[in-house]
Amino acid sequence: MRPDDDVRLLGFGCHLPGGAVGNDALAPALGTTADELARATGIRLRHHAAEGQGPSDLALRAAGDALAAAATDVADLGLIVFATATPDVTFPGAACFLQDKLGAPTVGALDVRAQSAGFLCALDLALAFARLPAAGGGVDGRYARVLIAAGEVLSAGLDFSPRGRDMTARLADGAGAAVVGTGSRGPRVRALRWYTDGTLAERFWCEYPASRQYPVRITAQNLAEGRHFPTADLRALSPIVEQRLAEAAREVLDESGWQASELDLAIVDYVAPETARAAARVLAVPDARTVVPTGEFGHVMAGGLLMALARAAGELRPGARVLLAAAGPGLAWGAATLEL
């Protein structure tokens, strides 16, 4: 091993499908105006996948870039972890579809569901597998290259009527990918902490299909009532989310021995961009160094952090210090520090 060798994010990719969908395109169906949507959501545009495109299709594009950047052959992958709440079909998961589309070997492929903390969860797992000890000492070599995909096609489940005004302009499609493995270049994770608080689950959720509903998990009536569309009580959640984002960020900064003022970049994601920015300000990260993925391309739950990181990675100098923080349904939230 060379002195710089460590488990790192060796390559990234980001894919936004189709053309940008502006507020002017959404406003008429939602019974509002483009200006009002921009004012209410802080979001100007988002991307929507085409009919027939699932998260695995978007992730395929991102994964191609990530593998190329990591100089990794798909045949060398040891595991595929796909974070999504909106899989291509109900089962099997998006990871199985991605594995097939990539032509990957018959290694493990799994979907993890942790909502907007999905990338942090997948990264946590990828690091744990990449460092898994072998029985006889050393590292279990089977997971030397782990592919993370994180993305959503939320647009297929949105309410394009005035009833959906609060959520439809906010939630969006896209995917990111990263190759995790041992190498001498690429960001390494200094600290990673994420959490859930299910007591807040119903404040931001998509209830149906609901297997818990006896005797049938989804009915024509549930559909007519729109219970299969996401809803959120953002007013109630905003102060809670701001606080938890700041707490998690402080925890990983402290663990890394970093000051917020030393950060080159803070990527902070939440469905309400102003709440994400407020959390960054609580930490005293300068606005100019804060990126809010939702503000750039809508809220892609599991994908936002990784997509924004992939878009920014090329601009960062070696040694740059990056903070990632995200919160979303669950409540699930967390943060990580990365050093390039």
Binding site: L110, Q115, L125, T196, G198, F204, P215
Partner: protein, 337 residues
């Protein structure tokens, strides 16, 4: 918490199934089928179905509490929940979040693994890796499904409808006091090429909209699981022995060293075929599909629970958990109990 070379062990196990027993004879009253037909093809005599609103996390809570009691631990000792399910209580957030709240787990990482019939073994592998990476001391690993609310229990859906049952089981995974006693290795595989051979399409985020009233109707509704049974059978009887041998070989062991095989309970005929092919005495193979049907992510821990309680799995037993199912995905875990 630091990274550890200590292996992990299943410290406690619990289970929960709904009270309502649905026999083959009861199904034959609502669809064109018979006890003989179902038993001959699947080995199933009865399964459990919920009889009022009840989610996988409601069963999972009961199972998790039993597992914690058996481990002599409290919920405050748990700092990770991994929930394997393909039939979550609600669309999102995850069952793991809901269960954490029901158990009063406080703020901990909690996520669902959607990996169908091999979901429990995959979840065990995830929890093991996280504990060994120093990210948790003890993890609750739960497999739970409520299938019955998503089955077509008419003649149209009988091929699949008779197979699945509701249930949950949970284990507590944590560091072993003895270096050679515990989870020895896990082995994960998938082949997405055959995703549509056993699948549930709608809600499908690749379709716009992802679910429509039409998906609940028609000759082969997209909102119910569909399966090409013979194709799945053929692959299952190849992949099961492969992954069992892989797990044994990785630990320098052979079939003769295996004391108990706990296969996923998809079909008794698959498990008999696999045991015969491996030259494994059927007494070493745990089957309870006759009473629970296929409970997907819950089936392996449900069978393990029985084998632990009836003494087939004893201290020192070499136990293999093996799964094959939708994805296709397949996996094995080797343990020294």
């Amino acid at each position: 918490m630091n990274r550890t070379n200590r292996i992990n062990r299943i410290l406690g196990i619990g289970k929960a199934v709904p009270e309502r027993v649905v026999s083959n004879e009861m199904l034959s009253r609502v669809m064109d089928t018979s006890d003989e037909w179902i038993q001959q093809r699947t080995g199933i005599r009865e399964r459990r179905h919920i009889s009022s609103d009840c989610g996988a996390t409601d069963l999972g809570k009961v199972a998790a509490e039993e597992a914690l009691r058996a481990a002599g631990l409290g919920i405050s000792d748990v700092d990770l929940i991994v929930f394997a399910t393909l039939s979550p209580d609600i669309d999102w957030p995850s069952c793991a979040c809901l269960l954490a709240a029901k158990l009063g787990a406080g703020r901990i990482p909690a996520f669902d693994v959607k990996n169908q019939c091999s979901g429990f073994v995959y979840s065990l592998a995830c929890a093991d890796a996280m504990i060994r990476a120093g990210r948790a001391r003890h993890a609750l690993v739960v497999g739970g499904e409520i299938h019955s609310t998503g089955l077509d229990l008419t003649t149209r859906g009988r091929e699949v409808g008779v197979i699945f049952g509701d249930g949950a089981a949970a284990v507590v995974l944590g560091p072993s006091d003895e270096p050679a006693r515990g989870l020895l290795s896990t082995h994960l595989h998938a082949e997405g090429k055959f995703a549509e051979k056993l699948w549930l399409e709608a809600a499908a985020s690749r379709s716009r909209p992802r679910i429509r009233p039409e998906d609940l109707e028609g000759d082969s509704p997209a909102a119910f699981p569909r399966m090409q049974g013979k194709f799945v059978f053929k692959h299952a009887v190849t992949r099961f022995p492969e992954v069992i041998q892989e797990a044994l070989a990785a630990n320098g062991l052979g079939i003769a060293d295996l004391d108990v095989l706990i296969p996923h309970q998809a079909n008794l005929r698959i498990n008999q075929f696999v045991a015969a092919g491996l030259g494994l005495d059927e007494a070493k193979v745990v089957n309870n599909i006759d009473r629970y049907g296929n409970t997907t992510a819950a089936s392996i821990p449900l069978a393990l629970y029985e084998a632990v309680h009836d003494g087939r799995v004893r201290e020192g037993s070499v136990v293999c958990l093996a799964a094959f199912g939708a994805g296709f995905t397949w996996a094995a875990a080797l343990l020294r109990w």
